[in-house]
Symmetry: C2
Subunit: 212 residues, 2 copies
DNA sequence: GACATTTAGCGCGGATCTGCGATAATTGCA
DNA sequence: TGCAATTATCGCAGATCCGCGCTAAATGTC
């Protein structure tokens, strides 16, 4: 075991006041045929974003993944930090810092425990406690900005996919229709054609792509 | 005094492990005629970004301002969060989370204590400890992005200023020359002409502006 | 086999953006 | 009184972007 550090007053770091540190996560996904949606968990009679307190020497991203697993039965992917909420009056249990996160997870990974959690369109989340609406707004702004110029950066689509599937996904996330030609001109240079064609549908079969 | 919260195991929040929380800040400024620069403070024989541990129930921004005052004799302005560094091995004194910040401060406010601190061009900062180079990189990227479309959002220039002064400031921050006409076309609609003219220089006097 | 359906992509007019040169205005300086 | 210096603005040509319509290709269905 390593020696405990002592400062010039012979005090260890743990002799000074420290906050509890929590993580709260907006898990965003796009269910088939539905709108951009967020994962909520129930505590008592209210719905909130899943979160947990940081364990000893745990990485923030690991705490996020652990909270998703235990609070909703969900296997997260790659949480990204959004913001630290530091209002000491925000949590009436005590002095708590909360690090907000975003994790974008494909619908196919989201086999949730329905007794614990639900997935609702972001527009239907309603009033959430602890300033979680602000986290949700930041999360939505973040995913929209990342999808504006890059084809499916979070990998919501299974490989391979057609241009139309990609455009419909981007329209769902943007919350508005996109111009077909502009979309193709912007995205196609960033994709790799597999050479395969989609089958089984009426009409000319679509080319299949993968992210480059 | 409020009752201490107890969870279902009859434990208070402080019975669980908590990290020490620090703030580290990249203070950026533009000295007259010089390049985009950063404030460094000396600890022992090495230079680093100023930082401090969070005091009890202190806001992060307040901790930043306090650290600038005590570590460098500088009055900061409005710190913005950049990122939380959470590697438990980052600080050999113990388990420390560090919240990186950016504060953009006009040169005229920066009467620093030269025995404690110095201001150097960001390109000359050299190797900093504790991953502070990463913070500096993020800070530079952040200020560049905010100055790309908005005239002097941090208020580095005294009111009023000429278009040329504004452009020179933006060029210093961008680290590259900007087109005169494009710059004017982008910025002038966001400015308010005072109606006054600059005086004392050779040539046609320039119009003076303020941020709208 | 004719037809509807869907994908793919070309072409074009219009709008916008960009860099540059030219010019006028206004000042200090020789 | 000229002259250099600087600001401010216009005009233009080229580039790029954008939306739209049209056509061709390829498939399943009737």
């Amino acid at each position: 075991m390593m020696e405990t550090y002592r400062d010039s007053h012979d005090r260890a770091l743990t002799d000074y006041p420290r906050p509890s540190v929590a993580v709260d996560t907006a898990v965003l996904t796009v269910p088939p045929g539905a709108a951009l949606s967020v994962l909520l968990v129930r505590t008592g009679d209210e719905w909130r974003l899943p979160g947990t307190f940081l364990h000893e020497r745990e990485r923030l991203a690991d705490a996020v993944l652990r909270s998703l697993q235990t609070k909703a039965g969900v296997s997260g992917l790659s949480p990204r930090q959004l913001h630290v909420f530091d209002d000491p009056a925000r949590d009436n249990r005590g002095w708590v810092l909360s690090v907000a996160h975003l994790d974008v997870v494909p619908w196919s990974r989201l086999t949730i425990d329905e007794s614990l959690a639900k997935i609702v369109p972001v527009t239907d989340a309603g009033a959430l406690p602890y300033g979680h609406n602000e986290i949700l707004d930041q999360a939505v702004a973040s995913i929209r900005s990342s999808y504006a110029t890059t084809p499916d950066p979070a990998g919501l689509l299974e490989h391979p996919f057609t241009l139309r599937q990609l455009q419909q996904l981007h329209e769902t996330i943007a919350g508005e229709p996109l111009m077909r030609d502009s979309f193709r001109r912007a995205m196609e240079p960033q994709l790799a054609a597999t050479g395969e064609l989609a089958a089984g549908t009426v009409g000319k079969p679509a080319r299949l792509f993968a992210r480059a």
